[in-house]
Amino acid sequence: MKISHKLVLHFPPRIVEQPVINNLIKNYDLSFNILKASIIPNQEGYVVLELSGEQDKYDAGIEYITSAGVKIESLSRSVLRNDERCTGCGACVSVCPSRSFIVEPQTRLVSFDNNRCVACGLCIKACPPRAMEFHF
């Protein structure tokens, strides 16, 4: 699944001069479009960009820049379910204001409809095994 998000990346002074964005583009197969930037050596800097690519590469890329010390702020965020952690209990069903979770009457499996989700985040802490996650 290809995705695209607008992000603000905040660079602390010690990493402003490191090629973090270059590495991100090179190693994770992502494309970007810089919308605004302010980078001055040895000072805090920021970049507003739109980053796109395949979901797994995107997630790995975000993990890389976070571990490099960059703080990420999202201009849009989405909520995804980690199906491996979901136990299908259904605790999220009555918490979600947009009815994004449906219990299938026969199997009692709980389906998650990403398109209905308004990313309010209520399910994230309500889900006992913490299967619902914010993605930037």
């Binding site: 209990c89 605790a91 069903v93 009555s94 199997t107 009692r108 802490k125 006992p128 913490r130």
Partner: protein, 399 residues
């Protein structure tokens, strides 16, 4: 018609036993009639998978060189408090234990993202866990500090031992107050906006054998993805509650204490979970086989969601104040429909226990029996039942 456990085991070994899940048996008895079904079907399998707070595990770590006596000292596993009141190399961790520096409910509702249940899940998943311990030092156990990674494969014993699991029926939680409540029964919205329940209903082990005629000490079960045993009645076991005509308790009633080798279990069936504003705990998968020894026992397993009533309890006042009041009784069929009427108002329902996983357990146990991998056991002693003078006591505070 009466069968014995030995006869059924003989059929299991020959691959000839007929097994049905507690869901399937309802249809089989409807199609074939009761006595025919009782003759043909040998075992009914049940299942449940939900948060069970009274769960924990104990370990023997093997002795360090030089030796250290953990007993009477302090120990943490991934920063979570473990209990050191046993011998030098034995440790116990409970599902609700928390790291010392967890903020708990300092800012409400606390998140409780990591606790004893999560440590157990990580161990079972084969991940390394950090053990940090301190001791007072003795002539025979001189060492005072320990900081090491441990792995379940390197432990001498790793045993899941849960003092109370598999509650026979349970409360349906609602909130009459004006403010949001964060409970062990999940998030309860104000003014009866939602109701949470926690039972597999017609698939639930003890609801399929309401008087515990086949389940007792020594019963072999599915536990956490491996094989376990019933070792005692669970704590708070109380058969003396109000029942429907079919014998099914209308309140939380019997419980099981269970044990099993953690090394053969798997994280799909032992999952660390976090209840917002309440704490960390462990979701446990349990399945109990019910041998169809007679028509009567078959009849009990035919129970369906519409025959099982659960008490609706107000968690804003009645529950915390330990008042006995029950607002209403509602069937699991109604609870599973997504909403039910309480005082004329529609209340949306949600479950904390996973019915789809409960069904998966019942099917897995059925396959084990069909493949001859799992034999039934004759209980060595029944669990206390009606008439055994069980009285559920409350704490009598005194000075």
């Amino acid at each position: 018609m009466a069968k014995t456990i030995e006869e059924i085991n003989e059929k299991i070994k020959q691959g000839k036993a007929v097994i049905a899940t507690a869901e399937e048996i309802i249809g089989i008895a409807r199609d074939k009639g009761m006595s025919c079904a009782a003759r043909e079907v040998d075992v009914v399998t049940t299942g449940t998978f939900g948060p069970m707070c009274s769960s924990g595990a104990y370990f023997n770590l093997g002795h360090a060189k030089p030796r250290i006596k953990l007993g009477g000292g302090k120990a943490t596993l991934n920063d979570v408090q473990a209990y050191t009141g046993y011998a030098a190399a034995d440790l116990l961790i409970g599902a609700n234990a928390l790291p010392d520096d967890d903020p708990r409910n300092r800012v409400r509702p606390g998140e409780f993202n990591y606790g004893g249940g999560h440590v157990i899940e990580e161990l079972v998943a084969g991940r390394d866990v950090r053990l940090v311990a301190s001791a007072y030092g003795t002539d025979c156990y001189p060492r005072k500090n320990l900081d090491t990674l441990i792995n379940i494969n390197d432990l001498n014993e790793a045993v899941l031992f849960n003092p109370r699991n598999a509650y026979q029926n349970y409360n349906v939680a609602v909130n009459s107050s004006e403010k949001m409540l964060y409970t062990y029964m999940g998030i309860l919205k104000p003014r009866f906006a939602n109701a949470n329940y926690c039972s597999a209903g017609q698939l639930s082990p003890l609801l399929n054998d309401p008087y515990l005629k086949t389940i007792g000490i020594g019963t072999r079960i599915f536990l956490g993805g491996g094989i376990g045993y019933v070792v005692w009645n669970g704590t708070q076991h109380n058969p003396e509650v109000t029942r429907s005509d079919n014998g099914v308790p209308k309140r939380g009633a019997s419980t099981l204490a269970v044990i099993g080798d953690l090394k053969q279990m798997c994280p799909r069936w032992l999952r660390g979970v976090s209840m917002l504003g309440y704490g960390a705990t462990l979701a446990v998968g349990i399945g109990v086989p019910i041998p169809i020894l007679s028509d009567e026992i078959l009849n009990y397993t035919l129970v369906s969601d519409s025959d099982i009533l659960a008490p609706v309890v107000d968690y804003s006042s009645t529950f915390p104040q330990r008042e006995p009041e029950v607002l209403a009784e509602v069937s699991y069929a109604d609870l599973k429909s997504g909403s039910f009427k309480l005082n004329g108002k529609d209340v949306a329902t949600a479950s904390l226990s996973s019915y789809s996983r409960a069904a998966e357990i019942a099917v897995t146990l059925k396959e084990w029996l069909q493949q001859g991998k799992f034999l039934l056991t004759q209980p060595v002693k029944p669990l206390p039942s009606i008439g055994d003078s069980i009285v559920s006591k409350v704490l009598n505070e005194r000075s």
